[in-house]
């Protein structure tokens, strides 16, 4: 049993949490900021901002080389953050935790470095229809380069993965790469089960956990995945930092992605040898302040308790589904699972015939921040039979008032576009 996410109180005090986020007290054209776009990027608590400021004000220096005090402090800051992240996701060692720019870079690292070395023409990679483009386009690029075959797990009308044909799809496949939680539908997938299926078929398992890690206790060892990728800015941390977790075995079998300083043991005119994990994958001066911020974000969430975070979001998800259905009936279509416990707080929806762009433009008049578009998941949009959706998404600082504000803004949009 790992130590991931077992602390904290049972219930979130949202009113108190809101005070930790300076941006939430901002006035938007005379109305309060109603932020419902955390699946896109989350807001940052004061403790994250302070940790980054503190690093720059007190300890800024390059890492892993200086002999002076502040250089040592900077090294301790980034490596300390790595340890916090390791505990947060239940990884066995800091060696398993690679810092990247974001989840997209982590996926590209896997596809380019591991994929190029271990895959050959005709090898099959299994994806799902509900993947983010970050888990699609790198594979398309590899397919163009070496001719791998992509297979797709379809999505049911309820927004779940249709695993009826999984054995056939996995037959002979080398990779299963899939999301732990859909950024469009909120669907939580059966990660451990899918990983086991992949391993039974002789494939490695890669998990895009960008939407999962911020919202649900994540234990990478319980999942058993070979690689897990996620990003910092969706989990209360800054932009510019992501994480690639890998098992020791697979990271050792993966050649370095980028070359340069930091990642070498020795360089001569004839060649180079790379250094050990995890720095083998961290060429160049890393994102030190961002790592510090990510560490502070994980500590903040641990302080709240990830079980309490999840419980809050399940309850608010139930309230959201109920409110939108009661107030708008057949005029609203909410994609994804109808059972709150089967999903995260992500709601892609259509309202009347109002285009998502027009809908969210009216929302903006009411201070309500909701994303419109394809959410970097065009194959899923096609499966749903739409070009775009409006998407509202929740986090620890949202409450029922925010959902009521969303519903009021929908009313206003309905009146504005009543033809």
């Amino acid at each position: 049993m790992s130590e991931a996410g077992t602390t904290g109180s049972a219930r979130l005090d949202v009113a108190r949490i809101r005070k930790d986020f300076p941006i939430l007290s901002r006035d938007i054209r005379g109305t309060r900021l109603v932020y419902l776009d955390s699946a896109n990027t989350s807001q940052k608590p004061q403790s994250v901002l302070d940790a980054m400021d503190h690093y720059y004000e007190r300890s800024n220096a390059n890492v892993h080389r200086g002999t002076y005090l502040i250089a040592q402090e900077a090294t301790e800051a980034i490596e300390g953050a790595r340890g916090i992240v390791r505990r947060f996701i239940g990884a066995p060692s800091d060696r398993n935790v690679v810092f990247t720019k974001n989840a997209t870079e982590a996926m590209n690292l896997v596809v380019r470095a591991w994929g190029t070395k271990h895959l050959r023409e005709g090898d099959a990679v299994v994806l799902t229809e509900m993947e983010h483009h970050a888990n699609i386009v790198p594979w398309h690029q590899l397919a163009e380069a070496i001719g791998i075959e992509l297979r797709w797990i379809p999505v049911t009308d309820e927004g779940h993965l249709d695993v009826g044909d999984l054995d056939r799809l996995l037959d002979g496949a080398k990779v299963l790469s899939f999301t732990a939680m859909s950024n469009v539908l909120g669907t939580v997938t059966p990660v451990a089960e899918l990983v086991a299926k992949a391993h039974d078929a002789g494939a490695i398992a890669i998990v895009d956990a960008s939407q999962h890690v911020p919202h649900i206790t994540t234990d990478v060892q319980a999942w058993g995945a070979d690689f897990v990728a996620f990003t910092g800015h969706k989990l209360l941390g800054p932009t510019g930092i992501g994480v690639l977790y890998g098992t020791e075995e697979i990271l050792e079998a993966t050649p370095p992605f980028l070359g340069g300083g930091e990642m070498i043991l020795n360089v001569t005119k004839d060649g180079f040898t790379h250094t050990e994990l995890p720095w083998k994958f961290e060429a160049g001066t890393p994102m030190i302040a961002e790592a510090v911020g990510l560490g502070a974000a994980c500590e903040y969430l641990t302080g709240l308790g990830m079980d309490a975070v999840r419980q809050h979001e399940v309850e608010l998800t139930a309230y959201t589904l109920r409110t939108l259905t009661e107030r708008f009936g057949d005029d609203v279509t909410i994609h994804g699972p109808s059972e709150p416990a089967a999903r995260g707080g992500v709601f892609s929806f259509a309202y009347k015939d109002i285009h998502p762009h027009d809908l969210t433009q009216v929302f903006d008049e009411h201070g309500v921040c909701v994303r419109a578009g394809h959410h970097c998941a065009k194959p899923l949009m096609r499966a749903l039979g739409v070009n775009a959706t409006a998407r509202a998404s929740l986090y620890v600082y949202n409450d029922t008032d925010d959902i009521d504000a969303l519903a009021d803004a929908m009313d206003a949009a309905g009146q504005f576009f009543s033809f």
Partner: protein, 170 residues
């Protein structure tokens, strides 16, 4: 502070409700071109029939928001029956309107410096013929105050330009 009424003028909503020249043309002889707005996933299809250096007929397909749909509708009405030279002048004038900085529109401080989001290259709007009248299309002027929507308004125009290029190539 721009408000919704700056964006959604009545004439825009009218074209959105009742789009002109909606449909398809047989292609060939007409040229069929698809345009995509990668930001929002909107897709537009322009069918253009060019004969004797004139836009003989045009139809619009696909789906999109009120701004992209109304812009396409107004464009179709404006270019139908016009010579290619006139269409070119109209396109330039429209794009020039879409690249006016908010600052020069309001004379207030809150403007955009360079409207990098418009995706309009300065060379596309050089030497706008003075005699060009935008007519109903003027209603889309307010879009400039909402920079992310500029690409909605220009989508059909870029697609038409591509269609005319293809129709007149070779």
């Amino acid at each position: 502070m721009p408000g919704l009424e700056d964006l959604y003028r009545e004439i825009i909503l009218d074209h959105y409700r009742s789009p002109r020249n909606k449909g398809e043309l047989e292609s060939p002889p007409a040229t069929r071109v698809e345009g995509f707005n990668p930001l929002c996933g909107d897709e537009i299809v322009v069918y253009v029939d060019v004969e004797d250096d004139t836009v003989k007929d045009i139809r619009i397909g696909g789906q999109g928001c009120s701004i992209s749909q109304s812009s396409a509708s107004m464009m179709s009405a404006a270019v139908k029956g016009k010579s290619l030279a006139e269409v070119k002048g109209l396109t330039k004038a429209f794009k020039a309107m879409m690249s006016i900085h908010e600052q020069s529109l309001d004379g207030e401080g809150e403007g955009l410096e360079e409207s990098g989001e418009s995706g309009i290259d300065p060379s596309e709007i050089a030497d706008v013929p003075e005699e060009v009248k935008l007519g109903d299309l003027e209603a889309l002027r307010g879009v400039v105050k909402f920079p992310v929507r500029i690409k909605c308004a220009t989508l059909s125009w870029n697609t038409l330009a591509q269609g005319i290029d293809e129709a007149t190539a070779g």
